[in-house]
Amino acid sequence: MLKINKLNSGYGKLQVLYDLSIEIPEKGITVVVGPNGAGKTTLLCSIMGIADVSSGEVEFQGNSIRALPSYLLARQGISYVPQMGNVFAELSVRDNLQMAGYLLPTAKAKKKAEQMTVMFPVLKKFIDRKAATLSGGERRMLAVAMGLMKDPKLMLLDELSTDLAPIIAEKVISEVARLRDELGITILLVEQMAKRALEIGDTAYLLVSGGVRFAGKARELLNEPELCNMYLGIKQPAAQNIPSIEGSR
């Protein structure tokens, strides 16, 4: 669905990604993991036309989308949930949802917003409050709801679990798996909770210092003890029964 070929990009004179090639297959979760500073967020910013792309190709459904401004990408069905600044703090929750559904017809946007408040009841409770007054977790839920408002074909999710209590982070990540299974949305998930993300993911890329260190099935990456240990802080390989979160209780 999304194809990136020999991408070089960064911010101004600072280059972050070097000859990066990635392919995101349709209807699946592609997980991008890696240590801090590997260029995971920059990858998303390069797709969205926010970072400076110096060379390389970015193709979405067969068409080049390189250097397109982000509002045109949104119109093609790409939804982006940034890690920081992912809600409009000065607007009410209601206006935030309305803005997220900016491209939908008004009636449909209203209906979608209602669906979101059913999916995330906390949003209904605070519908007229400024987003700035929400807690970190509530904000993140609003951000995900805003990403979903757009009825996207492809969702780019940046570090969903940041700011969230572990138990809620777990829930949000499971929710991502549900998006794939029930709505058939293609997802590019950048995540710090590497183990959990790889468990629900289909394809995985390990990014190190602006290049791809591993590409393949998500489960296979979990079976690479050396890579997992060195870059992801996952001590044991997944193949040997690690007690899951549910099991430990």
Binding site: M48, I50, P69, S70, Y71, L73, A74, R75, S79, Y80, P82, G85, N86, V87, F88, A89, E90, L91, D95, Q98, M99, A100, Y102, L103, T106, M146, K150
Partner: protein, 312 residues
């Protein structure tokens, strides 16, 4: 009504409009618009030309002044601001570019004045617009109409920003352009509209100001420090702060000079322009984020005796 109060109301309403425009442009495109000066002057010449050549009251030509100001804003946006923003120019560059635009507009104003002088046999370089005014309820009409114009315009602007989809999109883009873009909002259109409204407010402010003070080709140049003072007084990050700031700056100039000269004598008149700026400086020392940064809610709570301290 005391004359100082009547003139002060007109002047303060004019500054409120102009300072609001400066704030809006700064919030949306990070640009301190120096061209506000000549855009305001052009607003004055629009109503002057209308009143002299077209006839009728000056108020008939206020909408035209707004439109021409908006047009000048669009030219500035597409000609200067947008290309510079695309190259990620820093704020100083953006600001200086508008100074250049201001000088171009000032030259155009001078040429236009020459045209009026030599071809039309008029005296456009020193104009008292109040002679085209009429009397309403015992005072000059401007005293009543212009504050009303400001209130109606600013209320409409407020409703637009709060109630309409595009207005909310405008606020969203001002706060977070990246996320707004990812939501499908075309920031380009938002910025263009900001320049239409900002430029229009400058011209409207200039037109209103000429009903209070003598209209000259440097009407805007002379008053731009106070437009900026109003915007800075308001805190620069709140449109409503900027509007209030402009109004307070305008009012204190007239009220200050009136009361202080009664106490200290007429020599105070020579320092009239310093009075609002002193007030601004003093306020900013206590509330560095300007009027919009003052915790009004907490202040009110304190006044009515409820618990809760003031936090700045």
């Amino acid at each position: 009504m005391a004359p100082w109060l009547a003139t002060g109301l007109i002047y303060a309403s004019a500054l409120a409009l102009a300072a609001g425009g400066i704030t809006l442009l700064y919030m949306s495109t990070r640009t301190f618009n120096f061209a506000h000066a000549s855009m305001a002057t052009i607003g004055f010449y629009v109503i002057y030309t209308g009143s002299v050549l077209g006839g009728g009251t000056p108020y008939r030509y206020f909408p035209l002044a707004f439109l021409i100001g908006g047009l000048l804003g669009v030219i500035c946006y597409y000609g200067l601001n947008r290309p510079l923003l695309k190259r990620r120019a820093v704020e100083i560059t953006l600001m200086m570019s508008t100074l250049g635009y201001d000088l171009i507009l000032l030259s155009v104003i001078q040429m236009y004045c020459d045209y009026l002088t030599f071809s039309r046999r008029l005296f456009p370089r020193r104009v008292s617009m109040s002679i085209y005014d009429f009397e309403l309820l015992g005072v000059s009409a401007a005293t009543i109409i212009l504050p009303l114009v400001a209130i109606v315009f600013l209320t409409a602007l407020h409703l637009f920003l709060v109630k309409t989809r595009f207005g909310v999109a405008m606020r969203a883009t001002i706060e977070n352009p990246v996320l707004a873009g990812a939501s499908g909002i075309n920031a380009d259109r938002v910025y263009m509209l900001a320049w239409v409204i900002g430029g229009g407010m400058a011209a409207l402010g200039g037109a209103a100001m000429s009903m209070a003070i003598t209209g000259t080709p440097v009407l805007g140049m002379n008053s731009i420090p106070f437009m900026f003072a109003g915007a800075i007084f308001g805190g620069l990050h709140s449109l409503y702060g900027g509007i209030l700031g402009g109004f307070v700056i305008g009012m204190t100039e007239y009220a200050g000079v009136f009361y202080l000269s009664q106490i200290f004598g007429p020599w105070v008149l020579g320092y009239r322009m310093g009075i609002p700026l002193l007030l601004m400086a003093a306020t900013l020392l206590i509330f560095p984020r300007g009027l919009a940064g003052i915790p009004w809610a907490a202040l009110v709570r304190n006044l009515f005796g409820k618990k809760g301290g003031i936090r700045v």
